[in-house]
Subunit: 245 residues, 2 copies
């Protein structure tokens, strides 16, 4: 396969297929392969479509950001790129809590909680949501996470600390390429020894990016709300971040 | 007025009318009167009705529980009963955060968050909701309360501590009269010197009470879900608590 390094493990059976990614076992027990798809969904899967080139953009941008975060001391599941839409990752047990960091009010904060869109959030808000489309990924408080057995109080402290560090790193990076990081969602996983590492992806699917000059949205909101130029926005993020094989 | 004590202040102008209560000024600047109505609403005001005798039950039960809590060191807005549906209270600026304590999963925990009804919650869950029917009193986390300026982090610590103490006191009291306290909502207010005290009411409108033997619901869920015997349930709570003028 073009772009595949000589040390890449062989792809094994499909272990999990989500809305935007597939995860495969490999010939090596402690390595999986995560493949990024072009298919796009929104509103808990009720809106479906395809964004040409999305899999590749999200894979390359995620790899770039995972490497940046690793350099700042945040452990991630990223091991290596093997093609423009496949990466080798460390297997984890995904923590079923989505961690959302918000620097500016948008999305559900405006829709559900009465915030004014565009209001700066100082300090940033860190939210936990149950990762479960069937009940619409509801916002919850620490007590619910613990009562549902999704994570311990100690783990939530770690998620909050990592979320803050990831946010600070990404704000600085995107500021340098003319983009305001409005908010983003990250997911974490437990390694066999209980260590928590960053998993999933960081991409225009999981972040809100607003151009600093024009305010133009350069993320999945263009797909969600039929704003046009969807593929162009993904390509622009790829170019500005300088992400590549 | 029958039952009115000689020292009761005179009722002045109507300051606020809510769904279930009215608040009046009085001839004394630091005393208000809270009057309890028979009118009942549910689902953010979309269901309306009347529960005969409710105003009186809720007033007398609240007075009884406020006195009990005062004896355990929880400061409340309660001063005195002046009739079976009016109490003299201390004026407060209501904190626009509803505090919900849950000992057993029911209501929105089951409807929205995937909990199994009847699941014991050990330790109890303490929730904060924005007090705003227009946006359906949404569950929020501490960060949102602070970002919206509804309360400070220090105040949230106090609300959580008071909520826990109130819960422990009420569990013990209701256990002694054959009732499981499933959950309840309380509201707090700031006094002019910034002190936070318990306000509003504690009644079958704001609590879930399940009979320990039969599991029968003895609270506003009988009205919400048309379970019948609504007035009888309120009267039973009045009788079992021994609340009176």
């Amino acid at each position: 396969m073009e772009g595949k390094t000589s040390s890449s493990p062989e792809r094994g059976e499909l272990l999990h297929e989500g809305k935007a990614k597939r995860v495969y076992s490999t010939s090596q027990p402690d390595l999986y392969i995560q493949e990024f798809k072009d298919s796009a969904t929104a509103f808990d899967g009720s809106k479906k479509g395809t964004i040409g080139g999305k899999g590749s953009v999200n894979c390359l941008v995620s790899a770039k950001l995972f490497k940046l975060l690793e350099s700042r001391g945040v452990k991630t599941h990223f091991v290596d790129l093997i093609s423009d839409n496949e990466m080798v990752i460390l297997p984890v047990e995904i923590i079923m809590v989505e961690v959302i960091l918000r620097n500016v009010a948008a999305g559900s904060l405006v829709r559900n909680l009465g915030f004014e869109e565009g209001k700066p959030l100082v300090p940033p808000i860190c939210e936990f949501h149950i990762k479960d489309d069937a009940i619409h990924d509801p916002l919850i408080a620490d007590d619910h996470v613990i009562a549902l057995g999704l994570a311990t109080a100690e783990e939530l402290g770690i998620l909050r600390e990592y979320g803050k560090k990831i946010n600070e790193t990404l704000i600085e990076f995107f500021d340098g390429i003319g983009i305001d990081l409005i908010d983003f969602k990250v997911e974490f996983g437990r390694r066999p020894d209980g260590t928590i590492i960053l998993a999933d992806e960081i991409s225009p699917d999981s972040c809100r990016f607003w151009d600093k000059e024009t305010g133009k949205k350069l993320d999945k909101d263009r797909f969600r709300f039929d704003l046009g130029d969807v593929e162009e926005a993904y390509q622009e993020i790829l170019e500005r971040t300088g992400a590549s094989m």
